[in-house]
């Protein structure tokens, strides 16, 4: 094992690692459902970028990147969108039920 | 010919960047929402327009050049619409600042 060269993949890999850390912190600690949902999406973005870094490093056979992780990310982004939409709908419904009660709040 | 074209591109792109910087400065420095909106729309349209113009000679193919133009047109059009909608909201929400702007 040797240290990775300083290239785009490494830079974005470190970025992904930090994004995951930030997102994790937010998902666990933030109050309010909307904020947690945003943190979940930040975290997801970081995870996807890590896949992208793996893909970039696996470039070969004439491809600019390993196509498999890229395909996985595309599936993942669509699933994450669906999850977000479902959660948002729940949040909006809850706000509606709450009437003038402040939204979300709970953990 | 190619030297002229290169010069033209360079100038256009640099001018485009200048407009983006100007838009940012406007967004940061102008006193109220409507004037900021004004600055922003300028930067949007002119900045991107000039950059696209500068890139056109190097697009490589007619298709790519066409795409560049379409991109610019889309952003221009969307920007104008959003500006109009924001403006309408801003006038209603910040009547004081809107008034100041008219004066």
């Amino acid at each position: 094992m040797s240290l990775a060269p300083l290239d785009a993949a490494t830079l974005y890999g470190l970025m992904g690692a930090i994004l995951v850390g930030l997102g994790l912190y937010g998902v666990v600690l933030l109050g309010g459902f909307l904020r947690r949902l945003l943190a979940f999406n930040l975290l997801g973005g970081g995870v996807f970028i890590l896949f992208g870094v793996v893909a970039r490093r696996g470039a070969g056979a004439g491809f600019g990147g390993d196509p498999v992780p890229q395909a996985l990310v595309i599936t993942g982004i669509v699933v994450a969108f669906c999850a977000t939409a479902l959660a948002i709908t729940l949040i909006e419904r809850l706000t509606e039920e709450d009437g003038d009660d402040p939204s979300g709040g709970g953990s | 010919m190619s030297v002229l074209l290169g010069l033209f591109s360079t100038v256009a792109i640099i001018a485009g960047i200048v407009f983006f910087v100007a838009g940012t400065v406007g967004l940061l420095r102008f006193p109220d929402a409507l004037t900021r909106l004004h600055a922003l729309t300028k930067a949007d349209n002119l900045g991107l327009g000039l950059i696209v113009l500068g890139l056109l000679p190097y697009a490589g193919s007619v298709g790519a050049a066409l795409k560049l133009v379409v991109i610019w047109a889309l952003v221009q059009f969307a920007g104008a619409t959003v500006a109009q909608m924001i403006g309408a909201l801003a006038v209603r929400e910040h009547p004081t600042s809107a008034g100041r702007q008219r004066r």
Partner: protein, 93 residues
């Protein structure tokens, strides 16, 4: 040539990033929206520059998608805000 265009992309990105300070500062929702708008067109400009710098047409398709949808979130917001205002209550902040 490629380097010069990349440099231009860096300049645009830097300018737009500074504009994001407005997102931070607000104060109104409209200001924040405008900053995103600026970031959107800046992003399109960066992509256009990169597409030509790398000679990759696929990047133009990304820019095209971004351009098509850049205004989308803002329109949705403006529409939602307009509706809420009609329902009464709720100011722009």
């Amino acid at each position: 040539m490629a380097d010069a265009l990349t440099l231009a992309a860096i300049a645009v990105l830097a300018a737009v990033a500074l504009g994001l300070v407005r997102v931070l500062r607000g104060p109104s929702r409209l200001d924040r929206m405008m900053a995103v708008q600026l970031l959107g067109s800046g992003g399109v400009a960066v992509l256009a520059l990169l597409a030509v710098a790398n000679g990759t047409e696929a990047i133009l398709d990304v820019a095209l998608t971004l351009a098509l949808l850049a205004a989308f979130a803002s329109v949705a917001l403006a529409r939602a805000l307009g509706e809420i205002r009609k329902d009464g209550g709720e100011t722009g902040r």
